[in-house]
């Protein structure tokens, strides 16, 4: 069969959502950001809220997320995305607002903004990409770097006595009355990506009902920062990250 015969509408089983732009992603090969972006964009598409969604990009690898999401977006200073989102949502309460933040942004420099937005129960979605490393700046230790894990600022492995312990932000925010839906997912297999998408969709639906802050952590890989092939990094993530950061819902609305 010629290629032209195969490319026809009736054979179309999957297409890129128009909520993602056609711009080529700058992310490294095998990185989870691309899939995470896609799941979120598909949710915005399926709910028909592209024109009512305002996103906030962080500082970190996803600093340029606004190149890829075809929605109105603001770029926040490092760690300040939940404060920026608060300013947006408080003055545009009818819009769907999300932040998209890495572990350095959310769990180190932005810890105060994250905890207080969650504690106030701000009605927006926080998407938290946790890969246990600072990717953008070249592989330094993150607040979520595992004990013993090597990075450029923990070259002999993270020594928890001197460098502290990996911070479980997701469990922390689940304790706060302001959060409505708190879950930890991954996007490294098709099945997990689908689960993540379902979680993001639920979060947007809860936002519509003004139920409080929704917090979706996505445990992800960083082949470049971890110095592994994409396949190796996914295996390493399953064997090392998931035991410390177990997947699943931590808090669901009653």
């Amino acid at each position: 069969m010629a290629e032209n015969n195969i490319i026809s509408p009736e054979n179309l089983v999957y297409e890129k959502t128009s909520v993602l732009t056609d711009r080529v992603l700058h992310y490294c090969p095998g990185c989870g950001h691309g899939t995470a972006h896609r799941m979120l964009a598909e949710v915005v598409d399926e709910l028909g809220i592209q024109g009512d969604t305002i996103g906030v990009a962080p500082v970190g690898c996803s600093v340029l997320a606004y190149y890829y999401f075809d929605v109105d977006m603001q770029e926040a200073a490092h760690g300040r995305a939940p404060a920026v989102a608060t300013g947006i949502k408080r003055t545009m309460p009818e819009k769907y607002v999300f932040t998209y933040q890495g572990d350095g942004d959310l769990a180190a420099i932005g810890t105060a903004e994250t905890l207080h937005a969650c504690n106030r129960g701000e009605n927006f979605l926080i998407v938290f990409i946790n890969n246990g490393i600072y990717g953008m700046t070249g592989g330094q230790m993150a607040p979520t770097t595992l004990p013993g894990m090597k990075s450029s600022t923990s070259p002999y492995g993270r020594d928890v006595v001197t460098m502290g312990n990996p911070l479980k932000m997701t469990e922390l925010v689940a304790e706060l009355p302001g959060t409505c839906f708190v879950t930890r997912q991954s996007v490294h297999t098709p099945a997990n990506a689908r689960k993540t998408k379902r979680a993001l969709k639920k979060a947007m639906e809860y936002q519509k009902q003004n139920k409080g802050t929704c917090f979706v952590e996505i445990v992800s890989n960083c082949p470049s920062g971890w110095k592994m092939t994409p396949a190796e990094s996914n295996k390493w993530m399953e064997e090392n990250m998931f035991p410390y950061y177990p997947l699943g819902d931590i808090k669901v609305p009653s």
Partner: protein, 355 residues
């Protein structure tokens, strides 16, 4: 009928914010300006006009909440005092870089560090020369009365939106805390316009709006800077504001702003009583600074005394304005101390007339 009240400076600014049609206020308590958020919370403007008021977890968060609301094209503001404004420096740089309008009030107290809760003008450099990183300018209004504090809230929002630039009201602990007669302006409507630069939700017929101060390509970042500089030149051309007193026949000149200008005016009257022909120029905008007006007077007077509640900050701008034409000296009290008119007169006699 005029709406005349006897009000404290901080509370009057809070009332002015509601009447100026502000959409949102985000703030964090700090002496000597906490009455602003206390007044707003008590007044509950959500019911009066729909204005949102939120006590943030820090000044860092407050200014970033302002960023978010301003990025949606809303009239957003915050108020703080010196240590808190230092924490806002990062956010102000981002707001200036992203070309967003907002209003920030600094009710200055003495520094450095935790300093004192008493009034000061020691944040002049921070306000007019930067404070945060990068080449940016705030438009800085310096009220000397409660009336000007109120009027500058309205003017501040107008200038912020005219130039899409952060505006600062550089007040101090005297003006914030004292009560004066003030005429309040009428309630202004809140904005209904959807600005093309604001994130209000993407329409099918336009590209998505991106509010950012990031340009990774140097060529692009230079273009942003050139655009900002062109804007600042426009501001300098159009927005210089000052008042002068008794300058026509002046042999000597005081330059002073804010509360300090009121004390200096008294010193001027005392000097005139002694037959010393001294005038006073009071910048109402300290950025843009009235360089030309001072330069003109520099050709006429024998000496200029810059009177400030700091160790000598505005005096550098006065020297730039004078450009060597005449003697320029500084007199200041600082760390929360307030100069008396007699001290200022004495400084004129010692440093300028006898100097």
């Amino acid at each position: 009928m005029k709406d005349l009240r006897l009000m404290k400076g901080n509370e009057a600014m809070a009332e002015a914010a509601i009447r100026a049609g502000a959409d949102a206020y985000f703030g964090y308590p700090i002496t000597p300006q906490s009455e602003v958020i206390e007044y707003l919370m008590r007044e509950n403007p959500a019911e009066r006009t729909g204005m949102q008021v939120l006590q943030a977890e820090s000044e860092v968060a407050a200014i970033n909440m302002v960023y978010g609301a301003a990025g949606c094209g809303k009239r957003a503001m915050t108020t703080s005092s010196s240590p808190g404004v230092s924490l806002m420096a990062e956010g102000l740089s981002y707001i200036a870089g992203a070309e967003l309008p907002c209003l920030v009030v600094n009710v200055v107290r003495g520094g450095p560090g935790l300093g004192t809760i008493q009034p000061s003008q020691s944040d002049y450099f921070q306000a007019v020369k930067g404070g945060g990183h990068g080449d940016y300018k705030l438009i800085v209004l310096a009220p000397a009365t409660v009336q000007e504090s109120v009027d500058y809230v309205k003017l501040g929002f107008e200038l912020a939106f005219k130039y899409r630039n952060p505006v600062m009201i550089l007040s101090d602990g005297i003006i914030g805390q004292m009560m004066e007669k003030v005429e309040l302006f009428e309630q202004q409507p809140r904005l209904t316009e959807e600005f093309s630069w604001a994130t209000v939700g993407k329409k099918p017929d336009r590209d998505s709006v991106i509010v950012t101060s990031l340009q990774l390509q140097s060529e692009e970042q230079e273009k942003v800077n050139l655009r900002l500089q062109a804007k600042y030149r426009e501001v300098e051309k159009n927005e210089v504001r000052f008042e002068s007193y008794e300058c026509d026949d002046a042999e000597y000149l005081f330059v002073a702003f804010g509360s300090c200008a009121r004390i200096t005016r008294k010193a001027m009257e005392m000097a005139r009583g002694k037959g010393i022909r001294v005038g006073l120029l009071r910048p109402q905008t300290v950025y843009p600074f009235p360089y030309d007006a001072i330069n003109k007077l520099a050709g006429q007077v024998k000496g200029i005394l810059s009177v400030e509640m700091n160790a000598g900050q505005m005096v550098e701008d006065v020297r730039l304005a004078v450009n060597g034409k005449t003697t320029v000296k500084h007199f200041g009290r600082f760390g929360g101390m307030i100069p008396s008119p007699a001290e200022i007169l004495n400084a004129l006699e010692q440093k300028i007339i006898g100097g």
